[in-house]
Symmetry: C2
Subunit: 362 residues, 2 copies
């Protein structure tokens, strides 16, 4: 698929430097990216197999993927941390343009000084114009299966939240115990947990936990990106500590309704912005909900399209996205709900176990 | 400290884009970096307080740090994802050079296309020449205290490994249970676990777990970077499933000896390369051990100096480093040991609970 698109775009090669980009083309799955010390490179030529240009410490594991052309140097090398080897490899496979992801959501995972050095080697390094982003947005059935499995893990963990969260439990302890539930239910790791617990809704949905104990009247929200076999889920659940107020109950029901409306609409050919607009009509009567109301999902917690008024991306079968409506309950107090769906030829498939309109009471 | 060094270097400002860089100057601690969608910027001026230029979704949490000048835009904005606001801010605080981390272990966390746009605004964006790296290498007592606490968490988890690892236990289950132990003992999250279990040593130390059950004669190695309050530990432990062979026992004792020799030598003024050489003498008689035998540690799993033959960095009081000797037991089979120490005016302080020469037997 990549080489077909590269041919149309007139690219002789792609140069990739980040974890999801390398893994997408090689299957190289390793936690070692947590160490910023060493750069890693993958060169995807216009024809033939990709070439890995990587620190020697990664060679044994890369050798267990389908990649056979693995070129290594002993990193960190203060004199030349792979730039000469990379230059030589790029010259070998590309006489013309080499595409590099430079747009939305991308970054270059190598020191800028080394990038500048690479730019001086007479290579034609050009933007990939979103080529890799577009490829990754449409998942294979194998990829959807992995995301479905991870959603199942998180779903089972969410179902067990009443075991770990009750009045008096400090929020940071709930966060820890929730991660443990995820691991127990089969997550390989839990790179993302955010949430809040405040009376009648919360102020934001991305903060880490404080130490305040849950109190009657709080709405507890837990949002998680767990990973199994390299693929993320990303959805949340809201819980009420004791019975919810009528305002909270209504707001939650509205979120579930917005999710349903968006899911009903989510067919191939519909634009991302239309899903935003459909949810916003339910949430505010079309006044404009702040923020984005969903996004693509896969090898990263968020990737690809955004459900915002300016995103004209058309849905395609195989895309996996989140629906993430938010609503104001009172000034400074919001509720946010999130589910994960796969776009299909007909109705979308819910990958996360769909929440009911009634909040679970703790 | 930063502004003193900036004055000497003739910098009007620093421009920072990555998680540890922003957190170092602000205390902004959030898991949300897992989402690649939005860039975040911090401008540290030559005098006065830093200015945060960030997506509006992060304003509530940034508002709870000591930073008061917080400028936001609604990201993602497909027309201009913060570049105009950042340009305006940089122009306001800097007429001359703006330092950007561009060297070893750094990257720029914003799309290259936006960086190119920023470069065309007539600003003088220059390398920071390792200024931020050098600042971060020397920890305050508060930082050392946090690393000590995290080492304590991992130490308690390692002490409980016999509860979760025994003959017949699949390695991936051991990895999951080990993360759960870390959380139970007080880790906020566990972003790094690597290891292996193979007879008489292992092939590499950075791979994820397979499903193979532990077998008698295996050496199980678990290496972890847990985080508590934003600071990492990074050390490992080796376990023998059943009694170790004499070769494995001797190799492990040699690793412990190498660690002791390096720790005895680790005083202010000694160079990183000297610690490498001292360990290598114990490990190979000075033939040269492949890879690096330790590194700096702090807000990242690995940061700062490397214990390699070419690193001339002199140790300073307050530096926190790992000692990580590795040894070949037989062809293709190695053992690696790791401890964390703080450099002091006299003998270094062991932050990790020091392992004994005898491997723990499962």
């Amino acid at each position: 698929r990549a080489q077909d698109v590269m041919a149309k775009a007139g690219l002789d090669a792609l140069l990739l430097t980040t974890e999801p980009e390398l893994r997408y083309f090689t299957g190289f799955l390793i936690w070692f990216w947590e160490s910023p010390t060493r750069p890693w490179f993958l060169v995807v030529p216009a024809s033939g197999d990709p070439v890995a240009v990587i620190p020697s410490i990664g060679a044994p594991l890369m050798g267990r993927t389908w990649i056979t052309d693995i070129r290594t140097w002993d990193a960190p090398d203060y004199g030349d941390d792979g730039v000469a080897l990379l230059t030589e490899t790029l010259r070998e496979v590309a006489r013309g343009d080499i595409g590099v992801p430079m747009g939305l959501e991308t970054h270059l995972r190598m020191p800028l000084a080394d990038w500048t050095r690479l730019q001086r080697q007479g290579l034609s390094l050009v933007p990939d114009n979103g080529l890799v982003r577009a490829l990754r947005a449409v998942k294979s059935e194998a990829e959807i299966g992995k995301i479905r499995a991870t959603c199942g893990v998180a779903g089972r963990a969410f179902a067990r939240v009443p075991e770990i969260a009750r009045e008096g439990a400090p929020l940071d302890a709930v966060f820890r115990r929730f991660q443990m539930l995820g691991l127990e239910e089969g997550a390989d790791w839990v790179p993302y947990v955010a949430g809040a617990a405040e009376p009648g809704g919360y102020a934001d949905v991305i903060s880490p936990a404080g130490t305040k104990p849950l109190a009657r009247g709080d709405v507890l929200m837990l949002d998680t990106g767990m990973v199994r076999d390299g693929y993320f889920c990303d959805f949340d659940r809201n819980f009420s500590v004791g019975p919810p107020t009528p305002e909270v109950r209504d707001a939650h029901a509205r979120l579930i309704e917005a999710t349903s409306v968006a899911a009903d609409l989510a067919r191939p050919g519909v634009a991302a912005m239309e899903l935003y607009q459909a949810m916003d009509r339910v949430l505010t009567g079309g006044q404009g909900t702040p923020g984005r109301l969903g996004h693509g999902l896969g090898m990263q917690l968020t990737e690809g399209l955004s459900l915002i008024p300016s995103d004209r991306t058309e849905l395609e079968p195989g895309m996996v996205i989140t629906l993430e409506p938010g609503i104001a309950v009172s000034p400074g107090r919001i509720l946010v709900h999130e589910e994960d769906i796969a776009i299909r030829d007909g109705v979308p498939e819910f990958l996360s176990p769909r929440a009911g309109a009634e909040m679970v009471e703790l």
